[in-house]
């Protein structure tokens, strides 16, 4: 792919970066046969626990494992500090943006984000206009995708304010490393991530509606066991010690949400929902939804139940909105953004479109509402034919696309096909915001492209995951 990528262990070549010193020594001492054996053990472990996900549209592959790469990814405490501060700032801005867009609309009046980008957007929910978000924090759980290209610079690649997933892998991967390499863990002084469920529970409790009792009842709402992320939903309910419910377990009476229990109805105050807006309530959104709870939104409007995340937060995930994030951060926090945005060409703008069409082979082009790595063009990795086909799509509906320069994502050592080789990675830290502020457990989900040279890390497209360490400098 032309220019060499920054490797988090070896820099741009020959260097031995301090963060990886321990790990590197350990890798040198560990025979690949042992690694292979551990890899098989890990796979058996994950399968036995049922840590699987379903892939949409692939029937025979009903439950697949996400490849777990044995070799941890390492960040130093000082690198983490940069991320922590930057993420806190960004998520504060995202929360302010959501409240503003459904409230006074000041950012629109100030002309910073064009109105039509918001109002025409499917992720924007007119039903939310004027609704006071119960709990006051629309995005208590955010997952911000981060990439780096050298030792200093971190870029935000994507904001996930709707329902970021993957946190179960962060915790399971750590658990797996503990089980597989206890000695390595013992000497590496890795900051723990295990308190994530406690932090999440505290955040959810802090956002309970005013009418809730002092010990609010919390539930995790899942679309059901056929959903691709069901494992995570069940995992979280378990770790939080709360009920895992489906729509049919809940009902609404007089604007209060109840769950059906063996002893009759029990009021529910906070719902950590993993069901999309569209399907939440057939009376407010899609009338054909079988997954939702009729009347839920009415109860929400009445302030009797907190939804985490709030309805309509997906607007912040839009990639066209993303391109305005530096201005958005400045507008709400009054500060310069600490994390960088990848320069983004909005194809809806004539000049940008012209540039993009002229430079397709160098660019990554993405659908503005897309996710999961679908519907995108990675110019440098595409054939002429693919590029020509994409050009047609782009020309017919430019509003639907943005383009970015192809970043040379950093690589980390990975154990693939019996050898250790560099693979591109990204990072999704999970940012929790409650009534008492923002918390981030040190680490996150590192996704890794298992194919050499590939930049696509999405699990739906064969990407794997790694344990992510934050160690003292």
């Amino acid at each position: 792919m032309g220019k060499a990528a920054f490797d988090e262990m070896n820099g741009f070549g020959g260097e031995h970066r301090a963060a990886y010193r321990q790990l590197q020594a350990w890798l040198e001492d560990t025979p690949v046969e042992l690694l292979e054996q551990r890899r098989l053990e890990a796979e058996a472990l994950f399968r036995r626990f049922g840590i699987t996900f379903a892939v949409y549209g692939q029937k025979d592959a009903e439950e697949r494992l996400i490849p777990f790469d044995l070799i941890p990814r390492v960040l130093t405490a000082s690198e983490w500090k940069i991320l922590e501060d930057g993420l806190t700032q960004r998520v504060q801005a995202i929360n302010a943006l959501i409240i503003d867009l459904y409230g006074k609309g000041e950012i629109l009046k100030a002309g910073i984000v064009p109105e039509e980008l918001i109002f025409a957007n499917e992720a924007f929910r007119p039903e939310m206009i004027g609704v006071e978000v119960p709990g006051g924090v629309p995005v208590p759980i955010a997952g911000i995708d981060i990439v780096r290209v050298d030792a200093e610079k971190f870029y935000v690649l994507e904001d996930n304010a709707r329902t970021p997933s993957g946190v179960s892998y962060m915790l399971d991967n750590r658990e797996a490393t503990h089980l597989l390499f206890p000695d390595l863990m013992a000497r590496s002084k890795v900051r723990p991530v295990e308190r994530y469920p406690d932090e999440l529970l505290a955040v959810l409790e802090s956002l309970a509606p005013r009418s809730a009792s002092s010990e609010p009842t919390i539930a995790v709402l899942t679309p059901g066991s056929y959903n691709s992320a069901f494992y995570e939903h069940s995992f979280l309910a378990d770790k939080l010690g709360v009920e895992l419910v489906e729509g049919r377990d809940l009902f609404v009476r007089d604007d209060v949400v109840y769950m059906r229990t063996t002893q009759g109805p029990k009021r529910v105050d906070v719902i950590y929902r993993r069901v999309d807006d569209d399907f939440l309530d057939p009376l407010a959104f899609r009338p054909d939804s079988m997954l939702g709870v009729p009347g839920l939104f009415s109860s929400y409007r009445a302030g009797n139940v907190t939804l985490a995340n709030a309805v309509g937060t997906g607007i912040a995930d839009d990639k066209a909105i993303y391109s305005y994030m530096p201005e958005i951060v400045k507008f709400y926090t009054g500060e310069e953004p600490m994390l960088h945005n990848v320069p983004t060409y909005r194809c809806r703008e004539e000049e940008a479109l012209k540039y993009v069409l002229d430079h397709l082979p160098e660019l990554v082009v993405k659908e503005v509402h897309g996710s999961g790595g679908y519907g995108m063009l990675v110019g440098p990795a595409s054939t002429k034919k693919q590029i020509a086909e994409f050009e047609k799509k782009l020309k017919s509906d430019p509003d639907n696309f943005i383009a970015q320069p192809t970043l040379a994502l950093s690589t980390c050592p990975a154990f693939v096909d019996g050898e250790i080789a560099p693979r591109h990675v990204d990072l999704r830290p999970f940012v929790l915001t409650g009534s008492k502020g923002t918390r981030i457990v040190p680490g996150g989900l590192t996704r890794v492209a298992m194919k050499a040279g590939s930049l696509v890390v999405n699990s739906s497209q064969g990407g794997g995951t790694k344990d992510t360490w934050v160690v003292e400098d």
Binding site: E116, F119, P126, F251, P294
Partner: protein, 270 residues
């Protein structure tokens, strides 16, 4: 005009249902040309109607009824005093940004055919003329037919089929207006037709579009006219789903039979 309305909706279930939740948009708000003299909704089952307001400013009543229920009747009775303003609607609570009414919804997404139709019909005409032209063209193209389309029929589907009910006419008009860059919305309500008919099987649906200097103006493509004082305007939204009179869910396995009776009469005291 002094209009009296009586609207009863009766659901009968072949096996008793366990519970019902419904949201009713059956209560009009006053505006400059519509004065509410009296209005009342009743449900014949043990249930409290809880009033609230949605984002569009519509008055919504939600109720929950516990089963077993064999039937359910909702009765609306009201009297309004209306004036003819040739469709111009003023004095409604407008809390949403105009730009929102350019938004496509699932029921009103224009396909290529509607885009073309909108482009050809509206051309570069001034807004009001463009809207009248669209209304006329929709009316001309579409045949009014009951029972061919359903509440889930999209504008594009009805446009292709060339027939439908007032709601399909309105959806096509809205899709085309938005395609031409004109903010538009769906309105539900009642109509007393010319000729003195008093009994109706369904409420009425039409559209409103935004005209600079005039504000929101009603267009009824099913009747090819702008609403007059024979119309009672009840609720509005981006499409039928936002503004339709009833949305509800029942629990239990039952087949329902629906009987709707609407009576719109002219008061004698005016």
């Amino acid at each position: 005009m002094h209009l009296k309305l009586r609207h009863s909706t009766r659901y009968t279930y072949d096996t008793p249902v366990r519970g019902i939740i419904q949201m009713l948009r059956l209560t009009p708000r006053p505006h400059d040309a519509q004065h509410i003299l009296h209005w009342r909704i009743d449900v014949d089952q043990d249930a409290t109607l809880k009033p609230s307001e949605d984002s569009f400013g519509n008055i919504v009543h939600t109720f929950w009824a516990e089963g077993p229920l064999e039937s359910l009747t909702i009765t609306v009775e009201g009297e309004v005093q209306t004036e003819n303003t040739n469709g111009v609607v003023q004095g409604t609570p407008e809390r949403l940004p105009l730009g929102l009414f350019l938004r496509e919804t699932r029921l009103t997404t224009p396909n290529d055919a509607i885009h073309k139709f909108a482009g050809k019909t509206a051309g570069s005409k001034p807004t009001l003329d463009a809207l009248h032209a669209l209304m006329e063209a929709v009316h001309k193209r579409m045949k009014f037919d009951i029972g061919v389309t359903s509440v889930a029929t999209t504008a594009a589907e009805a446009f292709k089929a060339k027939h439908g009910v007032c709601q399909d006419f309105a959806h096509i008009f809205i899709a085309a207006a938005r395609s031409a860059g004109i903010p538009a919305r769906y309105v539900s309500g009642y109509l007393r037709e010319d000729g003195g008919r008093e009994q109706y099987e369904a409420g009425h649906g039409w559209a409103e579009a935004w005209v600079p200097d005039l504000g929101w103006v009603g267009f009824d493509p099913a009747n090819n006219c702008c609403p007059t004082d024979a119309y009672i305007r009840v609720a509005c939204g981006l499409d039928y789903l936002d503004a339709g009179p009833v949305r509800g869910v029942r629990t239990g396995i039952a087949t329902e039979q629906l009987d709707v009776e609407i009576q719109v009469t002219q008061g004698s005291n005016q």
